[in-house]
Structures are given as structure tokens and as C-alpha cells.
């Protein structure tokens, strides 16, 4: 087991991602944040908390998207659905999708399909904490990256969050 990001580094990375998002979308007017269920939401909750400190609560539209029903492997393995909660229109908005690890790209493919069923955003960006750049199976790249790492398929990246795993770090297994 190798630590990729320690608790302190993780906190700094989250702050940086929040600032980068803000840099490109000043005041977040016309921008909405959507975290992917289940594990991307831990990251998006933290990024949104950072954004609130800077631009205030009122400016932020924050939703959660579950992509279970859009997966391409329903008959290979059954996945249990989580709640989707997007209480605003995404029509003509800039959507920032947030997930913890970008690996094959299949989750993001499903997320794009799911997202487009809610309307037609003017633009979609992708923000991830960890980018496993050499394992992509689809042509999908992140716009905001916490850390890029080179891994082989047999390795596993685990992102631990306090609410769930009682510690806060990213490790390679």
C-alpha cells in the first residue's frame, strides 16, 4: 500500500480544485456543480463547501447524479441505485461534473448520457481528484485534475473519506 495523497495534501488539493473552478467561472453565474453518486459526492461536498466560503451560499446550484440505470454492464453485475437530486434546470448552464477517480471513462460516458436527459447544458466540464491516465477505454479527459497517476490495471486506487472510511487519504493498493 502506497499513499498517493495524505490528509493534508488532500485538503489542499480540494481547495485548489475549488479555486480553479472559480477561476474559470467567476461568481459561478450560469455554472452548476453536479457530484456523481456514490463516491464522487464526498469530493463534491468538500468542493462546494470551499466555494461557499468564497462566493456565498446563494450563488451555488449543487446537485447529485446517480448513473446506475445508464451503465453498460447491467447484465454483467447488478448495481444498487442511489438518489439523484438535481432540483434546478441545467438548460444552457455550464455543468461541472465531479467524481473521485477517472479510470476507464465508462462512468463519465454514462454520466453524460444521464445528464443530457435533464436538458441541454451549454458546456460540460469534468473535475476529478485522481486521473489514472493510461487506463482509458473511451476518449474522455478531465478539465480539472487533483493528481495524475500512472497505474497498471491490477492496481487499485482507493480514496478514503472521513464520513465513510474514518480516515482521509488516497492510497494505491
Amino acid at each position: 500500500m502506497k499513499t498517493i495523497l495524505s490528509e493534508q495534501q488532500l485538503a489542499l488539493t480540494v481547495k485548489r480544485l475549488a479555486h480553479q473552478i472559480l477561476e474559470n467561472n467567476l461568481q459561478l453565474s450560469n455554472t452548476v456543480i453536479i457530484g456523481l453518486q456514490p463516491r464522487g459526492v464526498f469530493l463534491s461536498n468538500r468542493i462546494v463547501a470551499e466555494l461557499k466560503k468564497i462566493v456565498g451560499e446563494a450563488a451555488i446550484h449543487y446537485g447529485k447524479l446517480d448513473i446506475t440505470f445508464y451503465r453498460d454492464d447491467v447484465r454483467k453485475s447488478l448495481h444498487i441505485a442511489n438518489a439523484t437530486d438535481i432540483p434546478f434546470s441545467i438548460e444552457n448552464k455550464h455543468v461541472v461534473l465531479i467524481d473521485d477517480v477517472l479510470y476507464t471513462g465508462r462512468t463519465i460516458r454514462a454520466a453524460l448520457d444521464a445528464l443530457l436527459d435533464f436538458g441541454r447544458p451549454s458546456k460540460v466540464s469534468l473535475c476529478v481528484l485522481i486521473d489514472r491516465r493510461f487506463n482509458r477505454e473511451l476518449p474522455i479527459q478531465p478539465d480539472y485534475t487533483g493528481k495524475t497517476i500512472d497505474t497498471i490495471v491490477s492496481e487499485k486506487v482507493k480514496v478514503c473519506w472521513k464520513e465513510r472510511d474514518e480516515r482521509e487519504e488516497v492510497v494505491l493498493l
Binding site: D66, T68, F69, Y70, R71, V74, R75, K76, S77, L78, H79, I80, A81, N82, A83, T84, D85, D113, A114, D117, F118, G119
Partner: protein
């Protein structure tokens, strides 16, 4: 986590975890049905046949809509307009359909146990959409979903099932389900329509006075009088049934608490349920129909995902 059964033949075969899984998945599908695009691609590689040997409006449309909302391919079969009318057996009909590469069968039949028979002979997953006087599992699941949605829980809930208990597959499935989820059950109606050994067999309360049943319960699930299944008269007239056992606004207004009125449909207005009750504030009849699609999507999704 997945269902413990390959088919949904009856609530009898499910355990509490299965029921909870179906209800929580249905909750997510209900949210899908509020979206601008009310459709997900989950079952786009699955073909489902709706095999209806008995008449149905709500259940067949609800299943078909659920299948289409999941992007499954749908085949419809109605016995009256098919080769079954020429004398083809059930097993022959189904094997012919399956040879066209169909993955799941949704089936309604007037003979109790027909889907169980089929399950022993064919490889496809089977969903029972009502078999004779045995079970109607998806109706019980959507009833439970609607109760939970309105009242927040099932455990400890007092549910009165009122009317033609003897001929009702909805009643039997509801009793199995509510028992497993820890609700208290009472059946009420005329003695001729309540099976004699029901207390011993299913451990439910029996009440022959509808007013007392309403005073006891939180939810009254009122059943249709099934004249088509009664070979001999079991009460003197529909008018008399309405006077003694029909649910009237006056009865509900006289209660000390608000109760919820449910009915699986089709309603015989002015027989088991008066119009001002069916259309009144106590009734969640149309919510039940709405929830039916989400619950059936959950069942089909979970069974399709179980194949490997």
C-alpha cells in the same frame, strides 16, 4: 446485493431484504419518472413478452410502460386474439415465443400456479402479473410502496383489507408482504367472503363489522367484489353489500383519526367504495397507479440484473 429469487412468482418466496431492495430501487425509479426524459437505457438489450391470458387494463399498461421506460423491447400477447384460441397449450406457446430470443416473461393467467408451472419448464425469468386466486406480487409491492410513501413506514402499521378476501390474489400477496414487513393485518367483510381458517393459516385478525375495522386501522385496502370468480351467490345483492360493507364518506367522517383508503382497481363505484370516498381526500388510488410503474421498473431491473 441482489434478489434471492430468479423469478417473481409470489411474495411468499421473497424475504424482507428482497422487499426492501425492490422498494428502495422503486424510489429511485420514481425520481426518474419526474425527469424531462422519463426513460433510462438499463434494459436496452432485454426483450420482454407480456403474456396475458386474462383481461387487464392497469397492470398490462403499467408493465408495458415500465418496460419501455427501461428501454426494453416489448412483445404483447393476449390470449383472446392468439393461437391459444386455436387450442395451443401454454407451454407450446411460451416455447415458441422464447425461441424468438425473449429474455423475460410477464404473465397473467386465470389458473393459480400457472407461472410456477412455467418456471419449472423454461429458462427465462418470469414475473407473475396475477395468477387466479393465488398471488399478484407487484400489486402488493406497489401498495406497500404507496403506504410507506404516505405514512413513512410499514412496521407497526395497522392495515385492514376489506371485501372479497376469498377470491382476491391482491389480498393474499398483501398479507404475505405486510406480515414480512412487520405490519398488523385485519381482514374484514361478509363471512361468506372470508376463508374459514384464515386466522390459523396467516395469523390475521378477522372482523365482520366494517365500521369497527375502520376504527382500528391506519390504512384500509378495499378490494373489488369479483363477481366473475363467484360460481354461486355469496351475498344477496350488490345493493345490500354496499349498505353493509361499502365504504361511505359518512363512516370516514365519524372516525376519530384520518385513515388512508386504497383500492387496487377497477373500482365498482357504489358497491365496495362510494364515489365521494374514491375521489375524496382519503383516497390514494391514483398514487397507487402512478407508483405501479416505478415498482414494476424496479422488479424488472433487479431480475434482469440477476441473470449472471
Amino acid at each position: 446485493m441482489k434478489l434471492s429469487t430468479k423469478h417473481l412468482l409470489g411474495i411468499k418466496d421473497l424475504n424482507k431484504e428482497d422487499i426492501q431492495l425492490i422498494l428502495s430501487t422503486a424510489q429511485q425509479f420514481k425520481e426518474v419518472l419526474q425527469r424531462p426524459v422519463k426513460k433510462v437505457p438499463s434494459l436496452r438489450d432485454v426483450t420482454i413478452v407480456n403474456l396475458f391470458y386474462e383481461n387487464s387494463t392497469r397492470t398490462r399498461m403499467s408493465f408495458e410502460l415500465a418496460e419501455r421506460r427501461l428501454s426494453a423491447d416489448v412483445l404483447n400477447f393476449t390470449a383472446s386474439s392468439s393461437s391459444a384460441a386455436k387450442g395451443e397449450t401454454l407451454l407450446d406457446t411460451v416455447n415458441n415465443i422464447l425461441s424468438m430470443k425473449v429474455d423475460m416473461v410477464v404473465m397473467r393467467h386465470s389458473a393459480s400456479g400457472a407461472p410456477h408451472f412455467l418456471a419449472q419448464h423454461i429458462p427465462a425469468a418470469i414475473v407473475n402479473a396475477g395468477d387466479g386466486i393465488n398471488e399478484h406480487p407487484t400489486q402488493a409491492l406497489l401498495d406497500a410502496f404507496s403506504m410507506q410513501e404516505r405514512l413513512g413506514k410499514l412496521e407497526g402499521l395497522k392495515v385492514a383489507i376489506i371485501g372479497d378476501i376469498m377470491h382476491s390474489r391482491v389480498a393474499l400477496s398483501n398479507m404475505y408482504l405486510l406480515k414480512k414487513m412487520g405490519a398488523e393485518i385485519m381482514v374484514a367483510g361478509p363471512p361468506t367472503l372470508i376463508p374459514k381458517y384464515i386466522t390459523e393459516a396467516l395469523d390475521v385478525r378477522v372482523e365482520y363489522n366494517v365500521q369497527r375495522a375502520l376504527e382500528w386501522c391506519d390504512v384500509a385496502n378495499v378490494l373489488r367484489i369479483q363477481l366473475e370468480r363467484q360460481n354461486q351467490p355469496l351475498f344477496s345483492s350488490l345493493r345490500e353489500y354496499n349498505l353493509a360493507y361499502g365504504i361511505k364518506r359518512k363512516l370516514l367522517d365519524g372516525l376519530k383519526k384520518e385513515i388512508v383508503i386504497m383500492h387496487p382497481g377497477p373500482i365498482n363505484r357504489g358497491v365496495e367504495l362510494d364515489s365521494d370516498v374514491a375521489d375524496g381526500p382519503h383516497s390514494i388510488v391514483l398514487n397507487q397507479v402512478e407508483n405501479g410503474v416505478a415498482v414494476r421498473m424496479a422488479v424488472l431491473y433487479l431480475l434482469a440484473g440477476r441473470e449472471n
